[in-house]
């Protein structure tokens, strides 16, 4: 769906904002601290209920305020839909979600308007811990098959309960949670594997678009307990592993096997990508992974998500930018990128609309100004 109008109140630095989004590529221009990232974050929270920035969700509320509201009018053909999100500050952030005025649960809200967020943190996909790569797979799996969210949440709950049983030495409860964990864990691994196959196919194309030089990165699902964890009969295998490691787990007080410890291995010529890539190459590969997940989502859903890219020119040279920006524009009908250096970015996207961000307000700007 296309986001026609976006309104936010009391989000980060924006006390009141209403924005009629143009189609195509939009370049948010402004100096550091102008609010460009805050606006992209508002779009991410509106669509995904989560941010691409680290930190507590309580920091999303404008300082001195107790609540924020995000509201968007979506359009697809003749169909129009309003999504709305109210968040109130308590010990945690209490959120209520509305679809066309009707209150809905997160599981119903989340598939409606996914936002693909690219940012400088994306290099964590290469250099960071396995949780970053698992999150990439799990989010994509959810957009392809919404029930993955339920599987993931239930798996996490079963894991927490099992860890509590281990820490308290409640051996009698462990068998029951072993079965639940193995059952949900196997479903989660299945969903990740089918997602990975699609991601792997799409990655090759995105690397070619961005002008990747050298050997093709190889993506491989990695389970420390061995490849049987992601072969047929994975549920039974995981159950056996949980039983086998029971003694060690009781001693340590937490669960040592399962998809919460799996990884998406990325190698180049047989070596881990993090050991062979420079910062710029890692950014390029991470960006390609993100673009591949956008392409997969668009292919499966027939409508591409809104794509945002914070600080688009960071760590990427002019040649890559000149390939990246047109590629973004072909992947999605709505792309919003931010930059503090529009003079670097604009030559690569002659059709883009330039919006100037300053002091919590937006204004369309003449390209010639930059």
């Amino acid at each position: 769906m296309i986001l026609v109008t976006f309104c936010c109140r009391n989000f980060r630095s924006f006390s009141e904002l209403s924005w009629d989004l143009p189609l195509g590529l939009v370049v948010l221009a402004g100096p550091n601290g102008a609010g460009k990232t805050n606006l992209l974050e508002a779009l991410a929270v509106f669509g995904n209920l989560t941010s691409f920035r680290p930190g507590s969700p309580t920091s999303w509320v404008l300082h001195g305020q107790a609540a924020f509201t995000l509201r968007g009018q979506l359009q697809q053909g003749d169909t129009s839909l309003v999504l709305e999100q109210h968040a109130r500050l308590g010990r945690t952030l209490q959120r209520t979600l509305f679809r066309g005025g009707r209150q809905v649960r997160a599981a119903e809200y989340l598939p409606l308007f996914p936002v693909a967020t690219l940012a400088s943190h994306d290099r964590d996909l290469i250099f960071g811990g396995p949780e970053h790569r698992r999150r990439l797979l799990d989010r994509l799996a959810f957009h392809l098959k919404p029930q993955v969210l339920d599987i993931l949440l239930r798996y996490r709950r079963a894991l927490r309960q099992r860890n509590a049983a281990l820490a308290r030495g409640q051996a009698t409860s462990l068998d029951a949670f072993d079965r639940e964990m193995a059952h949900l864990g196997a479903q989660l691994v299945d969903a990740r594997l089918s997602t990975l196959r699609l991601l792997d196919q799409a990655l090759e194309e995105e690397l070619a678009h961005l002008g990747w030089l050298g050997a093709k990165p190889i993506l491989r699902y990695h389970a420390p307990e061995g490849p049987a964890a992601h072969a047929a009969g994975g549920e039974q295998f995981l159950l056996l592993q949980l039983r086998r490691l029971r003694g060690q787990e009781l001693a340590r007080g937490h669960t040592l096997v399962g998809p919460h410890r799996h990884d998406l291995g990325i190698t180049i010529s047989g070596r881990p990508a993090r050991e062979v890539l420079s910062a710029g190459q890692a950014k390029l590969l991470a960006t390609s992974l993100r673009l591949a997940s956008v392409a997969v989502t668009a292919g499966m859903r027939k409508v591409a998500p809104l794509v945002t890219f914070d600080d688009v020119d960071a760590e990427l040279d002019g040649a890559v930018l000149s390939r990246l920006l047109p590629r973004l524009a072909t992947l999605s009908p709505q792309v919003v990128v931010s930059t503090a250096h529009p003079e670097v970015v604009l030559p690569s996207c002659p059709e883009a609309t330039v919006v100037c961000v300053q002091g919590g307000t937006l204004a369309e700007s003449e390209r010639s100004r930059w």
């Binding site: 649960r105 599981a107 919404p146 029930q147 409640q170 068998d175």
Partner: protein, 198 residues
């Protein structure tokens, strides 16, 4: 300065301990009860009476005054026991009019995060009832939460060696519900648990 008389302050504090009652709801309730004094008196008497007389059925742990109406009913099928988490779950099943067997209330689920293991539930009494003979089937009607499913798994492992049949209630679309309004999770489960139709 707090203008509320001490007795009202205590009443409001006690009301706020009830689930779903916040400070504003407590004020509204107190305002109403002070105006409708007859009703307030009947409410306090009903509360005191319920507190005095209602306890758990010693056999099945339904809420009852002494033994429960289900255990006392000679017309119930004593070969089938439906296991639920809380008495309210049994009330809902009984309201369907479809179930003619006996109940067993666990008074919770396995919940290690809250320190609840089998010993904190009425599992021992359930095993005793099954071991006493006569029971042919135990229907596990715990909720479809992680804890409810784990408790069902636990009971299956516990009861299977006793030679009793165990079954799990089905989950799917609500009656009268439209498929297009069902959430994806419910719909996916309904598809997995589909049944043959002649």
């Amino acid at each position: 300065m707090d203008l509320r008389p001490p007795s009202l302050r205590v009443l409001m504090e006690e009301l706020q301990k009830l689930p779903g009652v916040g400070p504003r709801s407590a004020v509204r309730m107190v305002q109403y009860l002070l105006k409708a004094r007859e009703e307030a008196l009947r409410l306090s008497q009903a509360l005191a009476q319920a507190h005095r007389q209602v306890g758990f059925c010693p056999t099945c742990f339904l809420l009852a005054e002494g033994t429960c109406a289900v255990c006392d009913d000679p017309g119930r099928d004593k070969t089938v026991i439906c296991v639920v988490e809380e008495p309210v779950n049994a009330w809902a099943i009984e309201a369907t009019g479809e179930f003619k067997g006996l109940y067993h209330v666990l008074l919770g689920t396995l919940d290690p995060l809250r320190g609840i293991g089998p010993e904190e539930l009425t599992v021992g009494k359930l095993v005793e009832r099954v071991a006493a003979g006569n029971v042919e089937e135990v229907i596990l009607a715990t909720n479809l939460t992680v804890e409810g499913e784990a408790t069902a798994h636990f009971l299956v492992q516990l009861l299977r060696p006793k030679g009793v049949k165990t079954s799990r209630i089905a989950f799917g679309l609500p009656a009268g519900g439209e498929i297009s309004y069902a959430d994806t999770v419910t719909l996916a489960r309904a598809l997995v648990a589909r049944r043959g139709m002649e």
